[in-house]
Amino acid sequence: MYRIKLTDHLILIAGVIFMLGPLVVAFMTSTHSAAEIHTQGLMISMGDDFIPTYEKVLFESGGFTGQVTGLTMAMNSLILGIGFAVGKIVLSMMAAYAIVYFRFRFATLSFWLIFTTLLLPLEVRILPTYKVMSDLNLLNSYQGLILPLLASATGTFFFRQFFKSVPDELLEAARIDGAGPFKFFIDILVPLSRTMIAAVFIIMFVYGWNQYLWPMLMTTEESFYTLMRGIKQILQVWIGSQIPDYNEAFAMAVLGMLPPIIVVVVFQSWFIKGLTESDK
């Protein structure tokens, strides 16, 4: 039992190289100049153009997308990621609280109205959703980016399961002490759910930041572009140009994946807890 299993490590190392290799190459390549990449292919060593390339992608408007800078797009992605995560947590905690802690007439109906949304992802109702948004004049706005993504029950499901595992005695004790529904929710249940909230926040932030199809359709004004939308733009500029700006494309990819990677790696224990509890 004490022998170190060499093949196990070799397989794991091969797995790590397969998974992380492309990321390292993407970053290294982004630090070289476009001409250099064009003649020599992808790079595995650091180049000299790290600062100029990233400066250009972050601050210079007009490079890739016409008017918007990488920094603006990163801000928009951040607004979408955080706005979506916070909205999701607030909405779903409230709804889950009503479903678990109240006896009321249309409880079953409300439950099913909410949970049928798990059946249809935004992608399959994308065209009619677009029509609804344009009827409501919400195209090219942050509300428009966030609200349709909120229309699903994933978060409610997390919190419903969690609330059901909270001991009944807690509510009994709180009621004896004279706590009303609001007080119980805010002073007892919300603090109790801290780690659950953190786990849901991380999953939802990554999901929001990584959204692609919806921002691509509904943002036609460049000031609302997200980083993912910017990637689409890179490819459109690309077609027909002499030497494509490989370095800037890679730099954009690195910017687009950095925040979610940091969040997932730093908070991995919460994140894994949230993920593995989501299916129960």
Partner: protein, 293 residues
């Protein structure tokens, strides 16, 4: 449900209102519209629409192009699902077996979960680029002249590889936590009873992991149907031409590029039914698992 609950006539509705309002406006309204417009042929410029019954559906189903895309979607989803499950399981088994460096491997192997499909697609596109792609250069030594975006098979190959790469971490996490929740006593008993590691895996570990594997089967199917949109869009760059695409991509192309609202809606409804079936399977599974757990 709880033994003790609050009794209030209007409070629960107050708590439910925000969620219900958003769902009504952004879920039910568009879903009903999708079903409605799948029975109409709509003027692309918005000058009215004509009721055509089920002809949008029959047109879609009898189109050879649609059937070709449906076939590709099935092949794509099945391949991605199988590869991702086996690689995820292999890495989880090995990570579970090693003692030294386990948490390092775990961290390194979940990083790619955070990467958005279009970013994965962009990185993949560079690796398979005609001029700079190392993969293309590598396979050319074996006489494979790889041309992404031109050759159907090559493009499909790249799509599957990128989609697999992006989805392995998710499977890895679930398998690893499934493995680590197997009690030590069970493992010890199995180790005493059965010397052969392979047999122990198939007779003891695999049955215990089966629920996780089944859950991942459904999740990976949904992933390859919907979440790979970004990968595909980046690779085919809006020109479906002769490229392999999935059914969701066709909904998008017909609706937003072709302005064929009726057909696009009918396709949406067909997909809704597919997802409905997949989700029902998943729900039954969740119930069963909660029951036994």
């Amino acid at each position: 449900m709880k033994r003790v609950q609050f009794n209030s006539r209007f409070l629960p509705y107050l708590f439910l209102l925000p969620q219900l309002a958003i769902i009504a406006i952004f879920f039910y309204w568009p879903s009903i519209q999708a079903i409605h417009s799948s029975f109409y042929i709509e003027d692309p410029f918005g000058f009215g629409s004509t009721f055509v019954g089920t002809s949008n559906y029959t047109d879609v189903v009898s189109s050879s192009q649609y059937m070709r895309i449906a076939r590709f979607t099935i092949v794509f989803s099945v391949l991605v699902t199988l590869i991702v499950i086996s690689l995820g399981l292999l890495l989880a088994l090995k990570a579970d077996a090693v003692i030294r460096g386990q948490s390092t491997y775990k961290t390194l192997l979940i990083v790619v979960y955070a990467i958005a499909p279009p970013v994965a697609g962009l990185i993949g596109l560079m690796f398979f680029d005609q001029h700079i792609g190392p993969f293309v250069e590598f396979v050319s030594y074996f006489g494979w002249d790889m041309r992404i975006g031109i050759n159907y098979f090559d493009t499909a190959f790249a799509m599957i590889l990128i989609a697999v790469w992006n989805q392995i971490p998710y499977n890895f996490i679930f398998f690893l936590s499934g493995l680590q929740s197997i009690p030590a006593s069970v493992r010890e008993a199995a180790a005493i009873d059965c010397k052969s590691g392979t047999r122990r895996f198939w007779t003891v570990i695999m049955p215990l992991l089966a629920p996780t594997a089944f859950f991942l089967l459904v999740i990976n199917m949904t992933y390859s149907l919907f979440d790979t949109f970004g990968v595909i869009d980046v690779i085919v760059k809006d020109s479906a031409a002769n490229n392999p695409i999935t059914l969701v991509y066709k909904v998008y192309l017909d609706g937003f590029r072709g302005n064929d609202l009726g057909s696009s809606s009918a396709q949406s409804v067909i997909l809704m039914v597919v997802v409905l079936v997949l989700t029902m399977i998943q729900f039954r599974f969740i119930e069963r698992r909660v029951h036994y757990g």
